[in-house]
């Protein structure tokens, strides 16, 4: 498979106005696991005939972990530069596969002068599905027992619970909900810049607590929507030696694994 992903700079040079900017984020750009999600999502966009571009090397961290760690200076420095870049390209629509980027772009950039229509990739995929641009044949996932892990920043913080579930429904999986789901979803342990530091002293790591709950569901896959959740849950499975029993996937990867009827 070969796929050409344009940067905004390239698209602008070619006189193309992409319908959406794909905000990749640090994890999506650099983390080996999250890169797979980036590539999967880009492939789906391509297959559905969505014209998109990335900022590429002009993209910087949204500043979310710095802000939540308390470092407003670093946050403002990055946010203001990003807003300058986005405004320079007159970006209107943004889609991202990272709920933290999503939250910051959507809820925090407006106060700094960055006003965009921002959606999470699950919402974007659902709208493709609704408009008929994306057609999925269950196939690979039909009848499989899976559970879904709500990330805090997509679910509780931004009230997006339905889009990811609609996508899973379209894969014809057997979705088993955990007791702690939706508004009661348990954090994977990465938020608030915890991803980048050692845990405070305690009895257990948070991702282990969650991974144990998932293992208790007797499912073969847990669907996630966040690169940090992916890492945390995968580590949690490994810690219990369950990495071969319960697979941890982003929903876009699951969609790509099923049969997408190409519009091209």
């Amino acid at each position: 498979m070969s796929l050409k992903v344009n940067t905004m700079a390239e698209a602008t040079a070619e006189g193309i106005k992409p319908e959406v900017l794909f905000w990749v984020g640090c994890a999506g750009s650099y983390d080996a696991r999250a890169q797979k999600v980036t590539k999967a999502f880009a492939s789906i966009l391509e297959k559905c005939g969505v014209s998109f571009a990335i900022l590429g090397n002009e993209e910087q961290c949204t500043g979310d972990p710095a802000r939540r760690a308390g470092n407003e200076f670093v946050f403002q420095m990055l946010a203001i530069q990003n807003i300058q870049t986005l405004n320079m390209y007159e970006v209107k629509n943004i889609v991202t596969a990272c709920p933290h980027c999503f939250n910051t772009l959507k809820n925090e950039y407006p106060a700094l002068g960055g006003h965009y229509d921002v959606v999470h990739h699950t919402t974007f995929l659902q709208s493709l599905l609704d408009s008929g641009r994306l057609t999925i044949e269950g196939g690979a996932w039909k009848g499989k027992k899976i559970t879904y892990h709500d990330s805090c920043y997509l679910g509780r913080v931004n009230d997006v619970y339905e889009a990811p579930r609609k996508l899973l429904e379209s894969l014809e999986v057997e979705l088993l909900e955990m007791k702690r789901c939706k508004t009661k979803g348990l954090c994977c342990g990465a938020g608030g810049a915890q991803m980048f530091k050692e845990d405070e002293p305690g009895d257990k790591r948070i991702n282990i607590e969650r991974a144990e709950e998932i293992v208790g569901m007797q499912v073969e896959t847990v669907a996630a929507n966040c690169p940090f959740c992916l890492t945390m849950l995968s580590d949690g499975m490994k810690a219990q030696d369950k990495q071969d029993d319960v697979m941890v996937y982003d929903i876009s990867e699951m969609i790509l694994q099923s049969n997408i009827i190409s519009k091209q």
Partner: protein, 454 residues
């Protein structure tokens, strides 16, 4: 004027005077916090008051306590009618003044109050059981040791006394209506208290019944007065503060942290960008960012703290707390309240050494600049606690009265990082990578390299 009337007026005025002093003190403590204007979207705010405060919407995520709490709450609301009657009767030396005015409605109303009081009594025993015997996890956390646990039980015992007062008074009254209809107007059939009277009070003489009726009446009134005076020292203050607290609760998106215009403008200047004047309201050139004490928190954060009834729904869902970390959102609120109370007490002591000898002008700004007692919020809240937060918002979601435990945690983090240049050392490489490379990790690859590998 009878002796009872004199006594009643005396108790009533002393209670009113003391209540004014205690309530006013809490009011002043709340406004030790930073000024903050909250007046946007009033219709949404009233809707919240209606649904969340009056309607207890968020309580119903947890059915068992919600239903029993509802019994006590509705009993509390309706009993106010009886309380108003008691006050009017007490002042004017009357007996059951509403019975003549309301007629059949009075019978209905008192029956309703009695049924609700009975349900409230059942709820009270269940709550005592849940707290002291069943030991529900959120009720046995260490931050409740000592006074908070006693406080909860005192209120429940107070509730038992209140209901006892009502049934003693009404039970005796029902029998007296037959013995002395001239003095005891007919209330109609009151099912519960009449049954109570028939069961326990029938062998009593008229005199003892009259004494008992008075005893019940006074017990109820005195416990109410005690309650009013006790509330400002108790977690139970939520019965009043829940309403304003819900009204003033944050409406902007949960995921939006309060912007810091001073820093934003400095960064904009650094990049040579224009700074809008309206975004720059009276920003002082001070380098104290975030919060180290209650003066740096907004008054709403302190109102949150006084509105907290220590139910622990936040702590029960906190992922850090669930996995044995020290952080408990409830404790953060309790600490803020206790610190505000401590500072308020010191300010009221009139000892000018708390202000370096300066004369206070009563503004929060003055106290922020001059108040010192050698302590701050970090003497109550440890670094370990604030470092354990994942900002997952589970605590925010869980609170039935829309308290936001997350904001003060993040303000403390801001102080630590921005004003002290301290914080978890693990974060330093992350900040450096972000500042220098625009990414959370220090990477040698180009950010867009992945696109060449598809």
């Amino acid at each position: 004027m009878g002796i009872q009337q004199v006594l009643f007026l005396l108790v009533l005025s002393v209670t009113a005077y003391l209540a004014y002093r205690h309530y006013h003190r809490v009011y002043k403590n709340i406004f030790l916090g930073k000024p903050k204007t909250i007046n946007d979207r009033p219709s949404e705010r009233w809707k919240n008051v209606l649904l969340v405060a009056f309607g207890q919407k968020k309580m119903f995520k947890n059915m068992i306590p919600a239903v029993f709490h509802l019994f006590i709450y509705i009993a509390f609301l309706f009993t106010q009618v009886e309380l108003i009657e008691i006050i009017i009767d007490g002042i004017f030396g009357q007996h059951r003044i509403f019975s003549g005015v309301l007629g059949g409605w009075y019978t209905l109303l008192i029956n309703l109050i009695e049924i609700l009081s009975f349900l409230a009594l059942v709820a009270t025993f269940i709550f005592l059981y849940r707290r002291n015997l069943l030991k529900i996890p959120r009720f046995v956390k260490s931050e409740l040791n000592g006074w908070p646990r006693l406080d909860a039980n005192i209120i429940l015992f107070g509730e038992i006394l209140l209901v006892t007062g009502i049934f003693t008074m009404n039970g005796a009254d029902g029998l007296l209506q037959k013995l002395d209809p001239g003095h005891y107007p007919d209330t109609g059939v009151l099912f519960l208290s009449n049954a109570f009277g028939e069961m326990f009070l029938t062998n009593m003489t008229q005199d003892s019944l009259m004494t008992l009726e008075r005893a019940g009446w006074w017990l109820h009134f005195l416990v109410v007065c005690g309650f009013i005076l006790y509330l400002p020292f108790s977690k139970h203050f939520h019965i009043f503060l829940a309403f304003p607290n819900v009204y003033f609760a944050k409406l902007r998106p949960r995921g939006e942290m309060e912007n810091m215009p001073a820093i934003m403008n400095e960064v904009k200047n650094m990049f040579g960008l224009p700074v809008e004047a309206e975004n720059n309201p009276d920003v002082e050139p001070n380098l104290d960012f975030g919060a180290k004490d209650i003066f740096d928190l907004s008054w709403k954060n302190i109102l949150d703290a006084y509105s907290c009834t220590e139910c622990g729904r936040c702590t029960a869902v906190c992922p850090a707390n669930l996995t044995g970390k020290k952080l408990s959102p409830r404790k953060i609120l309790m600490d803020i309240r206790d610190r505000a109370t401590e500072v308020g007490k010191n300010i009221d002591s009139g000892d000018l050494t708390f202000f370096n000898g300066e004369k206070p002008d009563g503004t929060s700004d003055f106290y922020k600049k001059h108040y010192q007692d050698g302590k701050n919020l970090f003497d109550y809240i440890s670094r370990e606690e604030i470092h354990a937060c994942t900002t997952c918002n589970a605590c925010v979601e869980a609170c039935p009265v829309l308290i936001d435990p997350l904001e003060p945690i993040l303000e403390l983090r801001r102080y630590e990082i921005l004003s002290e240049s301290a914080g978890p050392p693990d974060w330093v490489p992350m900040f450096t990578a972000m500042e220098n490379g625009g990414s959370v990790w220090q990477m040698s690859d180009e950010r867009e390299k992945w696109r060449t590998e598809i």
